[in-house]
């Protein structure tokens, strides 16, 4: 019994760390541009495919493939911003939401056409043999993926905290007008924000894709779960979002272990609804209220 709990908690931590990556990407875009980027799930999917193709076509190792995936996805993210967000400057949050939704539809369809709906396995160099730590089974792949996720989150946090661009981004999120008056280049920062968000999504896609294969619709659920985490974790807090991601991962793991795998996805939405209903006022203060 205890073994199963421990095993599920560990599995949940792994997945949760990656959900947190996804959520951070969404959060930075929502915080700076006030855009709910529905195409984030497809950037995640592209991350998975880019990593796959980097390994199979270019012959690079898995670690390099993740970096390449992040770079390519960042370019794709900037393209999404130019195509679907920038032309709608000054329109309602909802309009931009729909236009990124349109991009999401298009990218998903494009992936189906180009790469077929069949799932593909990212070849990783890790031994399939599980390691046994007391009662818990782990693969080196999972440990590696978890560490990478944690490293990326830390890197993201350090970037926001200490880099010049990170400071500009935080300034824009806190007080847009003041930041613009201080000479922050909004155009460039919007593109940079999308690039950053896309890179985070791509990292998540390449990591989770290595565990569960890559396929064109793989981004749908992580997108929605990412939003759930952003709202649960509190807009604007990297640490809060990371912890919320881990909690969601663990809760899902336990649900799968003790209840039913069919209801795993219910956990995110159930928790989201409960959090929203318990403290709507607090949540409304976390983000700029949209309308």
């Amino acid at each position: 019994m205890l073994e199963l709990v421990l095993q599920q908690v560990v599995n949940g931590l792994l997945v949760g760390a990656i959900y947190a990556l996804m959520a951070l990407g969404l959060m930075v875009i929502l915080g700076i541009l006030n855009v709910i980027n529905m195409a984030q799930g497809e950037l995640y999917m592209l991350g998975g495919y880019f990593s796959y193709f980097a390994i199979t076509l270019l012959g690079v190792d898995y670690f390099t493939s993740i970096l390449l995936a992040m770079v390519f996805a960042a370019v794709a993210g900037v393209a999404v911003e130019r195509l679907a967000v920038r032309p709608l400057l000054g329109r309602s949050v909802f309009t931009v939401f729909l236009s990124t939704f349109a991009v999401s539809m298009m990218l998903q369809d494009l992936a189906q056409i180009l790469w077929s709906p069949d799932p593909r396995e990212i070849p990783t160099p890790f031994a399939a043999k599980p390691m046994i730590l007391g009662p818990i089974f782990l693969t080196t792949q999972r440990i590696f993926i978890f560490l990478l996720a944690v490293t990326t989150v830390t890197g993201f946090w350090a970037f926001l905290r200490w880099s010049r661009s990170g400071m500009a981004i935080r300034a824009l999120a806190k007080d847009r007008d003041a930041a613009l008056l201080m000479g922050v280049n909004a155009d460039r920062m919007h593109a940079a924000t999308f690039a950053l968000g896309a890179a985070l999504a791509a990292a998540a896609g390449a990591l989770l894709g290595a565990m569960f294969n890559v396929y064109p619709t793989m981004g749908e659920l992580p997108l929605i779960k990412g939003f759930a985490i952003v709202i649960m974790g509190g807009m604007g807090s990297t640490g809060g979002v990371f912890v919320a991601g881990l909690i969601l991962g663990i809760a899902e793991g336990l649900t799968a272990g003790f209840f039913s795998t069919g209801y795993v996805d219910m956990v995110a939405f159930g928790t989201l609804i409960i959090v929203l209903l318990i403290n709507p006022r607090g949540i409304a203060h976390w983000g700029r209220s949209g309308a």
């Binding site: 729909l98 939704f101 369809d109 939405f269 409304a284």
Partner: protein
């Protein structure tokens, strides 16, 4: 002319099967018609009430399941199952909507979306009820017009005709609803929820009504669809359909009656047309949506209104109206004032205290406003005047103390409840319904006395028509009084600053309240406009209304007010007639500082 266009479109739509003979094309058309109901439903929530309910189209699938289950499991006849399914879906929608409406903006949207996913997962996993992913097969077929009634007509044609008739009926009813106080309240909430509240419109109730009506329409579409294709599966509750309905509404034209139908027909048929490019269907649909959003912000119907607005501009240029002359302020005409103030209508502050965190904004403020008088509330910036208005009008609850109106405590009431008791306010920063025309602004503001039930609005009862005629008289009078008759069709956003303040005054008069709170009404007005304002306020008092005004224009305050209350740092430092106030050294001190030698 307009009627003819509607009639023509209706006849063309109903006669379509004579041209469209291919059975597959007829099938596509039927499905598109069914989706028009769903799109109309979302449009009530999104377009009219302005609520971004991302998950709302899930009620299409819920309606499909409800009707299918009622007819398969409980063996209800198809029409009864449709009605029952619609009722069940509406109830589910109200249960979902109520908690979600505690949230606003995108958080509200995400909450409805989360509920939609939960509903999907329940349908997938509650095998005992829904058979899970296998879905419900052999749902009894749809028959709206029995074959015996119109012999010799093919089933698809009978269905088509009955669907078009049902759609026309739905549109007619929606048209009446939108034109009534219900629709005006929805639009008011969409445009400016805070102002709507201060005009007495209970936002939650109307949002719930929109959510329910929208869900009922979606359920009708879903139920029809389930019986028509005789199969329901969880995919009807999925992401895909939700996005699809949004495309129909937005690309068709949100907040218009015909837009969603147009969107439903075009985007219901389009995917089938695009079947030639089967694989790239979503690619093309997404592209069309993207282009529509960027190039046609008002949707497909925007095309038509653009053309007609050019024509209207051309017509109006011909006859320019003369500038408005306001009536003498003493010549009030009856519609403006409903119930004159009663002798008991006094407003009383009892030891009102308010703190924001550790900051004391109001401290133990007490005073009384006698009915039929004008009270001025003055004091340097930051004295707590607007906070006091917010407390009286229900936007803030005081930390301690209470406000009484006609001897009844109004502390703890919502802004809408306070308005219903007879108090209306204006805002320091001009607050209007920016995208509504001047006259629609005023019509909306009559809510408190012009509201009526759903049934009388739908049936256009004589009482309803009399009420609507009275609203029109009110609009005329108020327009004349604030001298905006010639710009009556202009959107409020496009008015000059002075005219906007005037319209704001009109919005305070239209509810026929007994006590009016004016927050810096003269700010930014030129001397001539200020003089007119003075006339209007004096006229209100002459008719027995009570006015409380915050104002920095001392000349206006001194000439207008019967009594003045002076606030400074949240405390009432003195109260009296204008003469007493001018002579009071504490007032001079508050405004200019004490002891000029030390300062």
């Amino acid at each position: 002319m307009r009627r003819a266009a509607w009639g023509g479109a209706f006849v063309a739509l109903i006669a379509l099967p004579t041209v469209v003979v291919n059975p597959y094309a007829r099938h596509v058309l039927l499905v598109a018609l069914m989706f028009s109901f769903v799109a109309l439903g979302l449009n009530v929530v999104l377009g009219y009430a302005g609520q971004h309910a991302f998950g709302h189209p899930v009620f299409f699938g819920v309606g499909a399941y409800a009707s299918a289950l009622l007819s398969v499991r409980s063996e209800w006849p198809v029409l009864a199952a449709l009605a029952g399914g619609t009722a069940v879906t509406t109830l589910i929608a109200l249960a979902v909507g109520y908690p979600c409406f505690r949230l606003r903006g995108i958080y509200f949207g995400m909450a409805t979306f989360a509920f939609a996913r939960v509903i999907y997962l329940v349908a997938q996993n509650w095998i005992g009820l829904t058979r899970g992913p296998m879905g419900i097969p052999s749902v009894p077929p749809l028959e709206l017009l029995p074959a015996g009634l119109v012999p010799g007509v093919a089933r698809e044609v009978r269905l088509h005709v009955s669907l078009v008739l049902l759609l026309a009926l739905t549109l007619a009813l929606l048209h009446r609803l939108v034109g009534s106080s219900v629709g005006r309240s929805w639009i008011a909430i969409r445009e400016n929820e805070e102002l709507a509240g201060s005009l007495g419109i209970p936002a939650l109730r109307y949002k719930m009504a929109a959510f329910g009506v929208g869900a009922a329409l979606a359920a009708i579409g879903g139920g029809l669809y389930a019986h028509y294709v005789s199969f329901v599966s969880p995919s009807e509750l999925s992401f895909h359909y939700i996005g699809f309905v949004f495309i129909m509404v937005v690309a068709g034209g949100t907040g218009t009656l015909i837009g969603p139908v147009l969107g439903g027909l075009v985007f219901g048929v389009l995917p089938e047309v695009l079947r030639v490019a089967e694989q790239a269907r979503n690619l093309l649909l997404g592209g069309i949506l993207l282009v529509t959003i960027a190039c046609l912000p008002e949707g497909l119907v925007g095309l038509w209104s653009r053309v007609s607005s050019w024509r209207r501009v051309a017509r109006e240029d011909a006859g320019e109206a003369a500038p408005d002359e306001g009536p003498q302020a003493t010549q009030y005409v009856e519609p403006l004032i409903g119930a004159a103030a009663r002798a008991s209508d006094s407003l009383e502050m009892q030891s009102v205290t308010h703190r924001f965190g550790g900051l004391v904004v109001l401290s133990d403020v007490s005073f009384r406003v006698e009915p039929g008088t004008i009270l001025g509330l003055i004091g340097p910036n930051g004295a707590g005047k607007t906070t006091l208005f917010n407390i009286i009008s229900g936007f803030l609850q005081p930390t301690a103390g209470r406000a009484l109106f006609s001897g009844v405590s109004i502390t703890g009431c919502s802004p809408a409840e306070v308005a219903r008791l007879g108090i209306v306010r204006t805002f320091q920063i001009t607050s209007l319904f920016p995208d509504l025309s001047v006259e629609d602004n005023i019509r909306t503001a009559t809510y408190l006395w012009s509201r009526h039930g759903l049934a009388s609005a739908l049936a256009h009862t004589p009482a309803f028509r009399a009420r609507e005629a009275e609203i029109e008289r009110m609009v005329e009078e108020t327009l004349r009084l604030v001298r905006l008759t010639s710009s009556r069709t202009v959107p409020a956003r496009a008015l000059s600053y002075g005219a906007q303040r005037g319209l704001e005054g009109a919005l305070a008069l239209a509810p026929r309240c007994r006590l009016i709170l004016l927050d810096e009404p003269a700010a930014g007005l030129n001397p001539e406009e200020t003089a007119h304002l003075r006339e209007v306020v004096l006229g209100l008092r002459a008719r027995g209304l009570t006015v409380v005004l915050i104002e920095h224009n001392m000349q206006l305050v001194m000439g207008l007010c019967d009594r003045i209350v002076v606030l400074h740092h949240g405390e009432k430092i003195t109260e009296g007639t204008p003469q007493e106030i001018v002579a009071d050294p504490r007032v001079v001190e508050a405004y200019l500082g004490s002891d000029p030698v030390r300062a």
